[in-house]
Symmetry: D2
Subunit: 337 residues, 4 copies
């Protein structure tokens, strides 16, 4: 921790800060510049009540030196985390594609879609049984019936399942059915829910919050890991900006940024980010070339009749041709799909 | 609903859209401009699967005519909602000030603070027993013990209580102690939690999400009201922008904007918005002059030792003088504090 | 300047950085923590090519200690700047109201408006002769004819003039007519234009850029002051955010934040910020109570027929009653209008 | 234009609006829904003073049907624009790479860099002679001397030149030297400068403003085209968001969005977007795979000693290997570099 003192700080102010730091068990290293003084404080930051210092007379600002996350940091673990979901490895050389409809609507459509996306090369089947919707009047999902349909999709194809959980009370239930928990963007800082999935031993796909910084996102991952569950997959799905031509702004820079500071795998959701199926293929290819470890793409047999997010869903045949295009892009960067 | 057809739409495209609308039970009113055609669709929008239409050949965009919220809208209720919390009226001529520490730390400090803010003119006592913190390593609150301390504060002063609930599983517990539920910014779109407090008959202070539009905020209120609980108090607490000199950007424009489209009362939290106690008095006065129905302000007997958000807390004596200033501002706009 | 070294930095990396700093004329103060080393560098930062250091092996990040602006900073000048515009003082106890139409359209309307706003208590007359418009097909202003009309308004009322300049080539021309130059939001980082008005000795009203941080805004002021013109008035006019119910988000927190770090006066433009006349009175009162040194408000005799920004303009009679309301608010905070 | 009337609008309100529209030369088509009335207005929108209508009694909102840009729109021109810069075609099958240092510092380094980037496959040479810098104390460029050095780089390599112009007064001068004008992000809405380069017949690389929507960006292009210069190349270079780990947020979604509504070519600047050379290769590949028509990349022989933006510059050898990687990605999407 570095404490920057104001230009107007007096010798007494500086001494008081040092004295407080020493009381708290820190070693101090003041540097007296021509205009300002800064004080380096060495010790266990958990001992430091940061506020106590920031409000002392003459203090301008505190500069943290250590990152606030630990388990999620590449400072702790240098090699990339590879998550094994029943044989499907996320974070390795292969780019894993997750596909399926936004919401599960009925068994026939879901199983047909599952068979189709498997044929195209998807390895994980997505589908929503609990849907967080902006409007209380919109379709909220089939709940446990939806989970049962998902299992039918898995049995028909061998694909692994990923589905969202939105309430701490449902974690146990969803755990019975899914292979990967999804935490949605709106729940990225629902800390109780994070802790609850952290107490299971299932992989968690953690979507970035609409206005979450990369650091806050990693802190959310830290909540899960701190409970003992190290299997966190980050999912970039667009952030909120002023632009209105796309639903959100897909932040592909987050991929190299995360690879720089963390060891966790990152997948990209171009469907929710753009809200428009026409833009999905271009951004799916862009995400792969940028270094994503996976994609999660909405596919629906008949988008105009979808109960949720039809406009962003690809038809199975468009998904199939996209997968062919993605394989070429993956190959160009020495990876596979 | 207005359907705008593309310039390149064919007669057949237009006919298909009309035909689909008629099948769905709508009356259609096409307007053929020189360059584009638009189709007005009249009927119950709940019948309309919007996606079905937006993805049809030749459709450029859909323009909704009705607001997505109903109960929260001033179109339904023209007079302002006044919420009575055991005799304290929120939304009337009097501006209601809520004050207290960020987190409840111990009974003595809390009760002392309660007595002090009551003396200064606060009507509601705030305090956090369940704290959503960005870091899993930060103080998370005293939970039920904190709630019991809150009650001691109420007993010592007669002030009403407002405290946050962060988990659907805790609603029943918190309901036993509090007078007003607080839903925090990070949970504004935790729809299950909204429904759960909607099923109680206690007032709910609904904080605006960090990146929530006013419309999304009103939709969150709609979730609560749709369950039968009409007692929603909106709380503006700053939105996330690119500016870093303040923690968030307090959006006081939200006050007149909400007064224009809704009947719900709005209070303002300058403490969380700025994250800096030095800016709190200026913005508290600004909020009152702009038309806020109340304020929620953090007060702590010794901010440097606070376990949470000390830098944004006022000392009791500064709060007292601020209340004196606020009374003059309220008077200038024909209201009282 | 503080150089934070990576956890993985070697002794050799640290020595290389120190050696480079010494070569550049700095004194170095390394602090070896348990996990990371930081190096304090003391000396004239103008000597320091920051990039040279930030890219050296083992460097994690650089932390500047000094603010990047100097003349605009309250570290240099502790007392507030008061700008005298022919007897009208901006930055003192009196809150100065500037009013008038967005664009100057014809002499009669302009002079009538001038007489009316003077009667209501405005001290400065605003009007646009050069209009920066998003569309090349929109009305671009009367140019020099507009400036002549402004002078007629001044002659009829004694009010001082403020008008925008948008091109370095027009500075000399506008200088002949106006009392205050306005630099619009879109030109806040048109550095050549800033330097050009910096070379005059007329006050400059510097609007905040749509996505400018407060620090960048002060750096823009620094461009003007660095040329020798110390008469800079900052004008908050809303920043760009995701919210769409108002045109921009008025950032009233900028008022106390600027008062904290700078000595320059701040005025607020609620008209452009909201884009909606209905919200202007509430936010004008809010700005005054928050501590603004002035307001700039659009007034038009017949908003529906205005050639520019009619929807945000007040009618003269609404402006008059607003001024009455503002006087009471100013009085409540011990200021005058 | 569609006029949506309020729920509370009276028959008389509706009649007044219709009557006003008829006076303005429009044909009106009212649609009376169960709750609200909307009025379709057909005619030449240039006749319509939008404000006149939006402020009438009972009007809720106006919905424009036509896009505000014309020449930049794919509604006017269906085939992509290909811009020929002395034989280098931008917007065709080949992806054009522009490379060079941020600022021109001296002839030797610049010519060496030019020779090197040409060898690696760049087709256009970039370099700044006029630099818009946030600080008045930073290096502002060599001006005409820099332009002369650029020409030496062209002569040594045959590469075409792109350089920024920041002042209307310099357009004639820069025109003597450059092959492509660059308009920087901070000047995207410097409308006078846009018009001035619009009056030349040289291609213009138009960078997206830091907080410009895609629509505003296309309106800026419209300013150039409206003066008769159709040779506009759009350049995405990151937008301002709340994220701080990258300097800006590169919005690759803008590529498919622009391809959807415009015929203009789009290039991407990953160097300015991220501000960090480590992230440049990943995003350069991502941009190509997403469909960019070109890239503009900063290359400097010795980034730590660069006078401007060293941290985002690639060394020539890293640029060379990146070009090899980009060729594979281009090939994977059936394009070339």
């Amino acid at each position: 921790m570095i404490i920057v003192m104001k230009q107007s700080a007096t010798v007494k102010d500086i001494e008081s800060v040092e004295s407080r730091l020493l009381d708290l068990g820190f070693k101090t290293h003041p540097i007296h510049g021509d205009i300002k003084t800064v004080i380096g404080a060495i010790g266990d930051k958990r001992l430091l009540n940061v506020h106590a210092i920031s409000q002392m007379q003459g203090v301008e600002t505190l500069v943290p030196i250590m990152k606030p996350y630990k388990f999620a940091s590449s400072e702790l673990q240098h090699t990339p985390t590879i998550i094994d979901v029943g044989g499907v490895q996320i974070g390795g050389k292969e780019i894993v594609v997750m596909a399926g409809p936004c919401a599960i609507e009925n068994e026939k459509d879901f199983v047909d879609t599952a068979i189709s996306v498997k044929k195209s090369g998807a390895k994980i089947l997505r589908g929503g049984a609990f849907k967080p919707r902006s409007s209380p009047y919109a379709f909220q999902g089939l709940e446990e019936d939806g989970l049962k349909i998902m299992v039918a999709g898995r049995e028909a194809t061998g694909l692994k399942l990923v589905t969202e959980v939105v309430d701490t009370r449902d974690v146990e239930l969803v755990n019975k059915y899914t292979d990967i928990f999804q935490i949605g963007a709106r729940n990225m800082q629902n800390f109780r829910l994070l802790s609850e999935v952290g107490m299971t031993r299932k992989p968690v796909l953690l979507k970035r919050g609409l206005s979450a910084t990369i650091e806050e996102w990693l802190m959310a991952a830290e909540y899960i890991i701190a409970e003992g569950n190290h299997e966190v997959i980050l999912c970039e799905r667009g952030i909120r900006t002023f632009e209105t031509m796309t639903r959100n702004t897909l932040d592909l820079s987050a991929i190299p940024a995360i690879k720089d500071v963390s060891h966790l795998p990152v997948v990209v959701d171009p469907s929710h980010a753009t809200g428009n199926w026409k833009y999905v293929p271009a951004l799916a290819k862009g995400a792969v070339a940028t270094g994503a470890d996976g994609l999660i793409i909405e596919v629906h047999p008949n988008p105009p009749s979808a109960l949720c997010d039809g406009p962003q869903s690809l038809r199975p045949e468009r998904f199939e041709s996209l997968m062919d295009e993605l394989r070429l892009v993956a190959q160009a960067i020495q990876r596979t799909i």
